[in-house]
Amino acid sequence: MIKKVLTTCPYCGVGCGFYLDVRDGQIIGVIPSRANSVSKGYLCVKGWHAHEPIQHPDRLKKPLIKKNGTFKEASWENALDYVADRLKSIKERYGPDSLAVCASARCTNEENFLMMKFARAVLGTNNVDHCARTCHSATVAGLNQSFGSGASTNSYDELIHMDCIFIIGSNPTEAHPIVGWRVRTAIDNGAKIIVCDPRRILLAENASIYIQQYPGTDIALINAMINYIIREDIHDKDFIKNRTESFDALKEIVKDYTPESVKDITGVEPSLIKKAARLYAMSKRSCIMYSLGMTEHIVGTDNVMAMANLAMVTGHVGREFSGIYPMRGQNNVQGACDMGALPNVYSGYQPVTDEEARKKFERAWGVNLPAKGGLTLTDMMFKAIEGSLKCFYIIGEDQLRTDPDTHMIERALASLEFLVVQEIFLSETAKKADVVLPGASFAEKEGTFTCAERRFQRVRRAIEPLSGKTDGNIISELSRRLGYQMEQDPKKVCDEMAGLTPMYAGVSFERLEENGLQWPVLTKGHPGTPVVHLGKFKRGLGKFVPIKHKPPAEVPDKEYPFILSTGRILFHYNTGTMTRRVANLSREYPHNFVQINPIDAGNLNIKNRQKVRVKTRRGELVISAEVTDKIKKGVLWMPFHFSDEPTNVLTNSAFDPVCRIGEYKACAAHIEKI
């Protein structure tokens, strides 16, 4: 039997569409969909191999319960009964806020809605969060303050028509390759590109201006651009007057940031900053694209607002062919946020502290809901160590490999009374669990993902769940055991969500059939929203929030003289549980490495591919060196995909005070040859 199942890629946040090629129950390949409006027949190397991990023999198929330190296979009945009993007794003994749920940006919207409902309506706590905390929580917090909505302002297809694309802290051709294709096409169409990155990434080779700033100095850089734009009188006065507020406060703060005065902080020639400022400001169609290079700092939220200031000062937002594109990292990290898998909001960013919203959910779900905001993922770890958090239910996330300062996370997980992990492979975090419940991959479920351009797209089932249950099934069956009945049919869950969420009120499976819908979708007849803030910002007037440069929590010193930054490479995805099980991807990059500039390498007598020790105040790692002039002198860079050589033993557990994102992109490090 040959079957082709049209679905959405499970990797990055771009949201490409392809068919899974299923023959006699085996998924043997991927066929790109030319008709898909996001990917138009293009895929990256991960997408082309998305079928390989699905039926890999390492997939978890049966629940595992740990007894005396070793896992024993258990039946679903026993495992679910056991988990329900433990959750119940911990809740009774310590209260609902001793429990926390980590939802999953890898799962569908419908499943995330069920997870947040499970935490709030069944466990009775707002302690629900997910990995957006470690990627774009700064975007949600920052853009929300500046514009009133924390997501991409414009759509992918506008990119190819831009005159200027300002790319900062983002590597589209590796991390979001099909958006990278659009940047490539924009270049071929004559667009000018500005790349700001401590590493000379592929697009820098074709950029009109390439700025190699030090990690963690972006505010100084952007403020200097704004300073120059105002000084040269090339700011958009009409836009500032009609559409924004607090311009004077911004003007006041950027006074101290001239391209000359930030030279030492950023390591960038003032003339380059001026050129970039002029090009961005003067181009008719300019946009900003960024990702985790901007957000994963203790000043993540500030970084995002600094970019919003730059866009508003030049009038490059709030209309077509302009705007800010936060490139989302995971297939459904946009959706997991949208569905309210966050400690402070229900679906559609309705605050849990808003009594009217809470009453609405209480009526719909027939329970009393907690009124106090819950813990962020970051603070869940701290509370576990402190002792007030007793139980953690983690779905599809590997904190031991993704969170900064691995050793601290180890302590946090070890402090728990009960840890449940729902996973498709036995991840490092799953190994620490008391119970592991086998979840389902994207190919085994019906539902929707929401991509970085706010587009809901369908996910369709190609094969039956290998473990017999989808993640949604598991949640709902646990819920029933805890005395609460939940609808679990994805189509009906989508309808329930739409009924409770004004921003997605018009979303339904039927309407997504063709090419999805971009939110806000306010009614059943609403066509969706390719460009947000047209004519008026969501919050009314766009707000200039004055931002000051603040150095990273850890700066180089004698003992740790380098700045270590981390990121994603083309061939692997996050902790590598999937991509390292794909033959060609794994072969391309089988091991971890550290990039170092030839001058630094020369000084330390380090040769290419030689083993080195990288050390920070948190830990150390022995890996091989990649000596390359693509990285700035004084900076080291490592990917984070290698579970057996885990980069995050080195990264710093310093956090943004607003959104609680960790500072993965800059810490002080030492490197030596072995």
């Binding site: 039997m1 040959i2 082709k4 049209l6 569409g17 068919y19 090629d21 023959r23 085996q26 043997i28 390949g29 991927v30 066929i31 790109p32 969909s33 030319r34 008709a35 898909n36 027949g41 293009y42 895929l43 990256c44 190397v45 997408g47 082309w48 191999h49 079928h51 390989e52 890999h56 023999p57 390492d58 051709t173 590796e174 390759p177 099909i178 990278g180 294709w181 490539r184 096409t185 071929d188 592929l202 080779e205 074709n206 063709e514 090419n515 083309l570 061939f571 033959a583 060609n584 072969r587 391309e588 591919r609």
Partner: protein, 341 residues
Amino acid sequence: MGRLFIAKEDIQTLIERLKEGCDEFIAPKKEHLSDVIFADTKEAGGELIDYEGNSVISPRAFLLPQTEALFEIKSIKDGKFFPIPDKKKRIFYGVRPCDIKALILMRSFFLDEFVDIPYKQKLENSTFIALSCNRLCSEEAFCCEMDAGPVAKEGYDLQLTAIGKGYLVDVGSEKGSRIIRNNKKLFAKPEPRDEKEALETLKCLAKGCKRIDFKKLAGMMNEDKIKPSVWDDIGLRCVVCSGCITLCPTCSCFSIADRVSGDSGIRLRYCDGCPYSGFTRMAGGSTPFPLHKDHIRRFFEHKLNYDVGRYGIPSCVGCARCINTCPGNISIRKFIEEVAK
């Protein structure tokens, strides 16, 4: 056997009869919106009898699938391996001439010297009914320039050419004659004006097309006369998606991997090739082509140079699948046009 004619109303009858005699009837099918992809329509139906464009995947996806289980490993310890044969009888319908030409090249690779049994098995159990083109399948297609369209000269079992009231039928093999013999009543002799009509359409399509001088091109590549900037540009465009080698109807490279759990599992082969730096990496870690631009150059050299030496013709058939799926906007057509001009 001379040229025959089948009327529009009879082609469906023929298809239904053919379906009875095969395990899978692989034909172009409309999937989501405008997507056209080869599917098994034996039971499901819905094949496009006449269609515009070409399938996203070529017949290669059935003869050399993206991943293919070769044998079952019952026990590593005891050395118990069992081949997983694919003996399905397949009829491919509506195959475009470019893909027919690709099949000839693939046959040479997999059957002429070292015989690849899994490929041979599937090929021998397959029947190919070509459908010549009456318009270009995409803006980028350049089959006429590559002498691979709009009609196939050989390599098919039957070839259909659409005219107003039906199809002209060319017979290219014994398998094809057998189909005609078994369905005699459906076929008639064409009238001279039918042939004229077909000729007009094909002429119209081929108008303005200039065959490339592939020997000259191969010679230039062989002597390394391509401007280095051409390769530099390609190197900066390729993002190693592997789409070109996955969709190309003449890419034959594969690698082997075992999917083992405990003592048992399967051995599979999967699509592999030029863009990967790991493809030619040596055991010690070094690679003869360390620069990325040379990986894509390898692809171009293979199609347009080495195979001209080996088979006398280039192994690019101008289907444009690699162009239409390249996130770096690399175009082998543009390369040929720029270099050969």
